[in-house]
Symmetry: C2
Subunit: 175 residues, 2 copies
């Protein structure tokens, strides 16, 4: 399968995390696509992911609810765009399920920043080559996402994923 329709990352607009992790690619895929597993690793502690809903087809729902250490909940609604088992997941917060533009894509919440995430993976020895790329529409959106702690956050979440796969739990500190 060629992916020629995805141009290379644009450093002005994209954020990229690239790592090799010591767990098999099939386990990384399962961690990204199984709600019970997402809840164990997706949010860096002491934040937690308390709910997750996945319909793993293009146009299908990807919904999570994050909870802050203070107990406030933040729902996130997105939509899958590409699903290629053990290779690639693409999803966005620009659409609700069924490719419906979200209210903030309609300008109702101009302080939000829409993005598309591309998670790519491939076998690498006994482990997995893993990249997460987040595609923004403006330099301002990229900068705000970077300032929110993209690299530390997505890196810490990946550490939690690997710990979950190796030890059967996310080994998170309790919040």
């Amino acid at each position: 399968m060629t992916h020629s329709h995805l141009p290379p990352p644009d450093p002005r607009l994209d954020l990229v995390l690239e790592r090799v992790v010591d767990v098999p690619v099939e386990r990384v895929w399962a961690a990204w696509t199984t709600p019970d597993q997402i809840k164990q690793w997706f949010t860096p502690a002491p934040w937690t992911t308390v709910d997750c809903e996945i319909d793993l087809v293009p146009g299908g729902i990807f919904r999570t609810v994050m909870r802050s250490p203070e107990g406030q909940e933040y729902p996130n609604l997105g939509c899958w765009l590409e699903v290629v088992p053990n290779e690639r997941l693409v999803w966005t917060n620009v659409f609700e399920p069924g490719y419906r533009p979200t209210r903030h894509a309609s300008g109702a919440d101009c302080d939000e920043f829409p993005f598309t995430a591309v998670v790519a993976m491939a076998p690498h020895g006994s482990g997995t080559w893993y990249t997460a790329r987040v595609i923004h529409g403006t330099e301002d959106a990229r900068r705000r996402h970077a300032d929110m702690g993209f690299h530390d956050g997505w890196g810490a979440a990946l550490d939690q994923m690997v710990a979950m796969i190796r030890h059967g739990s996310a080994a998170r500190t309790s919040g």
Copy 2:
């Protein structure tokens, strides 16, 4: 192929054109996916479509340039989401190619309305059952699109497509 991830149209938010046309489904597909054909029918006369670029894969470009009777040009940049030959095309103006959120999806142009278009077709006798559904994020966006003349415009364009297929030209009045 099931399309269960596309919920039924929401009459508050969607606009739908449904017709049976007396041309084969393969010709309707070609009319929608070939730049030289798009330029012959896509814009109701006396407007014209003077340029078109298509990379017919999910994430690929769908770009058109429309020209008003006064000669002003209006570029439109979009991205394909689903490509199922002779069955279904899904594209959106929320993304540039490569699923990058457009500037107006980023809130830079809050007067724009983002949408996703689903064009479905199937053989119907010797003709084609044809629907075009446009999915909006808000009732306001749907209303503005309706007020712009969605039904007349998409209907007139479809008439031009059928004329092009039957007679080898769009039979448009010259602008």
